[in-house]
């Protein structure tokens, strides 16, 4: 009970922290919207040449674009989020202070990242999606159940994204300069989440493999849930996300245990 209250408070302050920068939020919304338009036009050209490409019709493909722009900041698909700060604390040794606090390291960052994601879903997700729906013909479900499932999928997408970023960030305990790893993490996320192109468009065996990677859970699956393309009325997608979330969070715990017991904090 106490633990829950504590983490809720951390999440709430994460929310408030990002909500403070209103001008930055508006700037982000503007940029997301511009990118949404550019991508939408390229998708129109692509689906004009090949209707039903990747199992979507043109309207579904456009919906995919705007879901992507709405999820970009929420699931920190192109960087952003807690990891830069966490990495900096590992690099300069401040993490030692975090470790002797009576809170769990992973849970603390998880709560604060959830708070950030909640704000960015509202602050940076809604408006681009609305603009997209205004400017293009999107396929949005009318059933509230689908929207509810979509919200669950977005939550799980943030969890999987957090778990992945936490794993990459923990490597900073072993590497002096983890900037390269951070870049690698963003790279994988951009490409394998479906941010550039829906994963169902990827050709051949490669296209099969990318659908099973954890990054698929961060954008492809939520989009499929909203578009009604995920099996079992969306439950198959949620199950896939949940499985990866559990695996990656446990992996994060194990790596964290290894990192904090074996590695001497730099300078110490």
């Amino acid at each position: 009970m106490h633990l829950l209250r504590l983490n809720l408070a951390v999440a709430a302050s994460g929310f408030r922290r990002y909500a403070t920068y209103r001008v930055a939020t508006v700037a982000g919304v503007f940029t997301n919207t511009v990118f949404g338009f550019i991508l939408a036009y390229t998708f129109i050209a692509l689906w004009y040449e090949r209707p039903q490409l990747g199992g979507y019709d043109q309207s579904q493909a456009l919906t995919f674009v705007w879901i992507g722009q709405a999820m970009l900041a929420t699931a920190a698909l192109m960087g952003g989020g807690f990891q830069d700060e966490f990495h900096e604390r590992v690099r300069n040794g401040d993490v030692a202070i975090d470790l002797y606090r009576p809170v769990d390291l992973q849970l603390w960052w998880f709560a604060s990242d959830l708070g950030r994601a909640a704000f960015q879903l509202l602050g940076r997700g809604l408006v681009p999606m609305a603009v997209g729906a205004f400017a293009f013909e999107l396929t949005l479900p009318s059933s509230p159940t689908v929207w509810l499932l979509f919200l669950c999928a977005v939550f799980l997408a943030v969890v999987v994204s957090f778990a992945l970023r936490y794993l990459f960030a923990l490597c900073g305990f072993w590497l002096l300069d983890a900037a390269g790893l951070g870049a690698l993490s963003t790279l994988m996320s951009v490409f394998f989440s479906g941010m550039l192109l829906p994963l169902t468009v990827f050709p051949g065996a490669f296209g099969e493999v990318v659908l099973w990677l954890p990054w698929a859970a961060t954008l492809q699956v939520p989009a499929d849930v909203l578009l009604g393309e995920s099996g079992g009325g969306g439950l198959a997608g949620l199950g896939f996300q949940l499985a990866w979330a559990v695996v990656l969070l446990v992996a994060g715990r194990l790596l964290q245990a290894a990192a904090t017991s074996k590695v001497v904090v730099q300078g110490g």
């Binding site: 511009v34 692509l46 040449e49 390269g180 490409f191 990827f202």
Partner: protein, 291 residues
């Protein structure tokens, strides 16, 4: 000409003679070189890290092209353009943007400097502020984008099999150089904008990164309004669309007169003049943090 003693005596800080203005520009460039060289030396102290970041920069920008290649694994043409033609647009856009990103990309950090007050230090040094800002943290790893764009451009040139005339070669070279200038202006304008709106640094990403992404695709893909906006409001079309359409032998969707294809250098210079004015206005309106 206007080089009179009266001007120099009257208002030394405000109006400069042509010779002194040129001297100032030369000093600005030299100072830029000094600062950039210092950052290169410091980067080279960590060679392995530098190599990793160069590869990461290369790979990140390569992903955009990977997406285009995946698109073309499914279709033969996009907006009436084949893969080598899109690669030509991609390469020119990427190299032009890469040049400006390498030389002026740091201007997007002005907002942070205004917030934390380190802008003041730059004002106290006897070096033009723009030189200091642009050369600050000069990142050689950004060569990755230029290398990647050049490779794609080279590949497209071997595939296009155009009958090159001297004029078209010149047009392609000027495309990359004036394109770099136009993108450079966007970086500096974005930086100047942050003197007024410190937190809004992300707005400029829509024009810089958004611009280079836009120009990687043929203009026929986009709505006419978007193409008009990218021609007359933000002159991105001069970076590569207009000249490239002539080189590739495609019609321009807006039906502009033919001479416009050669106007890129003039447009770039015009942008520079406008940018200089905005930059000065931005710098003058700077108030130190806390005031």
């Amino acid at each position: 000409m206007a080089e009179t003693g009266a001007v120099e005596r009257g208002a030394p800080g405000r109006r400069l003679s042509a010779r002194r203005a040129l001297g100032r520009v030369a000093w600005g460039l030299r100072a830029y070189g000094f600062i950039a060289a210092m950052w290169v030396r410091s980067t080279m102290a960590y060679r392995a890290s530098f190599a990793m970041m160069l590869v990461a920069n290369f790979a990140t920008t390569f992903l955009d092209f990977a997406a285009i290649m995946i698109m073309f694994s499914q279709v033969d043409a996009l907006g009436g353009f084949a893969l080598p033609e899109v690669a030509f647009l991609y390469g020119t856009s990427c190299v032009a943007f890469g040049l400006s990103d390498l030389l002026l990309g740091e201007a997007e950090r002005i907002g942070r400097r205004v917030r934390d007050g380190t802008m003041d230090i730059l004002l106290m040094r006897p070096v033009p502020v723009l030189s200091q800002i642009a050369a600050d943290r000069f990142a050689l790893r950004r060569l990755g984008r230029i290398i990647q764009g050049s490779l794609v451009l080279g590949w497209s040139l071997t595939r296009l099999q155009l009958d090159w005339t001297a004029g078209e070669v010149l047009l392609t070279v000027s495309m990359v150089l004036s394109g770099g200038l136009i993108f450079g202006c966007l970086f500096v304008l974005g930086g100047a904008f942050q003197f007024w709106a410190q937190d809004a640094s992300e707005v400029q990403n829509a024009f810089t990164y958004g611009g280079t992404t836009l120009l990687q695709y043929p203009p026929t893909v986009f709505g006419k309004e978007l193409v008009r906006g990218a021609t007359f409001v933000v002159p991105l079309a001069f970076v590569n669309w207009l000249p490239a359409l002539r080189v590739l032998g495609h019609d321009d969707p807006l039906g502009l007169p033919g001479w416009v294809d050669f106007a890129a250098p003039a447009v770039a210079l015009l942008c520079c003049a406008g940018t200089a004015l905005v930059w000065r206005a931005g710098l003058r309106s700077y108030r130190s943090t806390g005031s």
